[in-house]
């Protein structure tokens, strides 16, 4: 059984084909890179996996279960959680509250519990807060817990985005350009964080434009171009692939 499996996946928006029949598998425990030029369909693939947009044809399976056709909250509940390319937070919340909110799936929420503030509810909330503190310490935002999310530096905001995703206790994470807009120090920190997340047993798939990050971090890389897979393999194999070079740099014929 594959961790994540796409079969004949097609994504069309009106007349535009974003993904044209993609077959792809990700195995448990790996860090998989998803790269390709702009408009190759990388983020569209994440949107399909997370249920944000319905698939046009084909199917996606997560741990053997068909998730294409499911709603985003149902897919998150299955343990497949994503982050976003642009900073996506509950901006007016404090850093801690962001992560506590992200812990929704495991907080045993009930309306009557909220109203009557039963012991069970209070215990669940305390557990949620404790878990959020753990996660924030883990990603390195422990010192900024009480700050408002909107006031964080960009790098910290991206980290917080990942902390929110971790609070949902995923088995697999889809990271959409975790290092986008980061300086090299922040980037290095992020790479370190992604490795540590994998060590906790979470499978990771990430989109990234920075080749140094991708090549250094990923076990395997899948390259997309115009909605098709053009290469798949270890970083070395992908780097050596002529088709990949052509997609990124243009063909030799044009250059000459």
């Amino acid at each position: 059984m594959h961790e994540l499996e796409a079969r004949g996946l097609q994504m069309k928006f009106g007349g535009v084909t974003a993904i044209a029949g993609l077959d792809l598998t990700v195995e448990e425990g790996e860090i998989r890179g998803l790269i390709g030029p702009n408009g190759a369909g990388k983020t569209t693939f994440f949107n399909a996996c997370s249920g944000r947009y319905p698939v046009t044809a084909g199917e996606i399976r997560y741990r053997g279960q068909k998730i294409s056709g499911m709603k985003p909250h149902q897919i998150a509940a299955e343990g497949l959680v994503r982050t976003f390319q642009h900073v996506t937070l509950f901006k007016q919340f404090s850093v801690l509250k962001n992560v506590v909110a992200g812990n929704y799936l495991h907080a045993r929420h009930s309306y009557w519990g909220s109203l009557l503030r039963t012991r069970k509810t209070r215990e669940a909330e305390a557990g949620s807060v404790a878990r959020a503190r753990e996660i924030l310490d883990f990603v390195g935002l422990g010192a900024l817990m009480d700050q408002q999310a909107a006031t964080l530096a960009h790098g910290h905001q991206k980290m917080l985005g990942i902390a929110i995703a971790l609070a949902a206790e995923p088995k697999m994470l889809l990271l959409d350009e975790p290092c986008a807009g980061m300086n090299s120090d922040e980037s290095r920190e992020m790479i370190h964080l992604v490795r540590r997340i994998r060590e906790t047993g979470i499978t990771i798939m990430l989109i990234e434009h920075d080749m140094k990050v991708v090549m250094g971090l990923c076990d395997r890389i899948t390259v997309l171009n115009f909605g098709n897979e053009i290469a798949d393999g270890t970083p070395e194999a992908v780097r050596a692939n002529a088709q990949v070079r052509e997609a990124y740099l243009g063909s030799q014929a044009h250059v000459a």
Binding site: S50, R52, K71, P72, H73, A76, A77, V81, R82, F84, T88, L89, F90, K91, Q92, F93, S94, L96, K97, V100, A101, G102, Y104, L105, A107, H109, Y111, G113, S114, L115, L116, R117, T121, A124, E125, A126, S128, V129, D146, I164, A165, A167, A168
Partner: protein
């Protein structure tokens, strides 16, 4: 106990003071019937504004809110005039009918967003009002329903006739306190956090596993149930209701109460509804100019007090801090 901002610590002293003041108010005004009437009106407006604020925690304002108050009012009134059951039944029947309609309407309504929601809810409010007017035989048309008697509470050893204004004041106060308490509790808990999370970022909320659509329907339904109860109380106090009692303007006044009071805490709508109802009553003497003065007060408060009345404590604190630094 581990205090975090997750469960907002209530300003118990302020709330207790407000409740005591409300309990003592009839004595303080010397049982003046007109002022007690103002007190009852304030109670209804507080309940209306606070439950509207509960919907606002999702990030939208429903202009159908007064309409749902009307559903509760008409249900309770008709239960009395047609079935002969007193308000003690009508109150709950009104609440249930209001809740059922809210749930049914929320299903299509909550699929719309932002400005489309405002427009759609506006239409819902208008349709509710027009239905009361259109089905003349059942709802009494534009003439409305008359003779909605206030209830009598018979405890055997004690009989309280709520035709007495003072008794009704305490009845209204009880229900508005209950309404505010329920909304406060919901808001200061995981439920409120979920709703504010949807308010802040619906996309992210969805992807953290929250069933956003269901949460919206539930929130809308609870708010409309509470305002349905308020509507029933309103009907039996006024003893007369017509479609015009529950038109868009009523929703809009509640929205004004929210804006003047503040949008981020329960204290906002409560403060806004209390103060603006008082201003409105004080301006009654100006007759035709009442709405103009009301508009001036509204514009002045938005210009001079952005963030609303709820920001006053923080402003005072800042003022003192600045003084102590000098």
């Amino acid at each position: 106990m581990d205090k975090t901002d997750i469960i907002a610590s209530p300003n118990r002293l302020v709330w207790a003071g407000l409740l005591l003041l409300a309990l003592a108010a009839p004595f303080l005004v010397g049982f003046d019937l007109y002022l007690i009437h103002v007190g009852i009106t304030i109670s209804f407006n507080v309940a209306l504004a606070t439950s509207l604020w509960m919907i606002w925690s999702l990030g939208v304002i429903s202009f159908a809110h007064a309409g749902f108050m009307g559903i509760g009012a008409y249900a309770s009134a008709l239960v009395l005039t047609k079935l002969g059951l007193s308000m003690w039944y009508g109150l709950w029947i009104g609440a249930v009918i209001s809740a059922l309609f809210a749930m049914l309407i929320a299903v299509p309504l909550m699929r719309t967003r932002a400005v489309y929601f405002f427009m759609a809810s506006w239409a819902v409010g208008e349709v509710i009002k027009r239905n009361f007017a259109y089905f003349k035989d059942f709802f009494g048309g534009w003439d409305g329903v008359f003779d909605i008697k206030p209830p009598v509470l018979d405890l055997g050893f004690l009989q309280i006739d709520f035709a007495d204004r003072l008794a009704y004041y305490y009845l209204a106060l009880f229900f508005v306190a209950l309404t505010v308490w329920i909304i406060y509790r919901m808001n200061a808990s995981r439920t409120g956090m979920i709703w504010w999370a949807i308010h802040e970022n619906e996309l992210l909320a969805q992807h953290t596993g929250i069933n956003v659509f269901r949460q919206k329907v539930v929130c809308f339904t609870i708010a409309c149930t509470l305002v349905g109860v308020t509507g029933a109380l309103y009907a039996h106090y006024q003893t007369y209701i017509s479609p015009k009692s529950f038109d868009i303007w009523k929703s809009e006044f509640a929205l004004v109460h929210l804006i003047v009071g503040g949008l981020t805490t329960v204290g906002g709508p409560v403060a806004g509804a209390i103060s603006l109802t008082m201003v409105d009553e004080a301006l009654r003497a100006t007759g035709y100019f009442r709405t103009i003065f009301f508009g001036v007060v509204l514009i002045a408060s938005v210009l001079l007090l952005p963030g609303g009345l709820e920001t006053i404590p923080a402003r005072i604190r800042r003022l003192f801090n600045r003084k102590s630094k000098e």
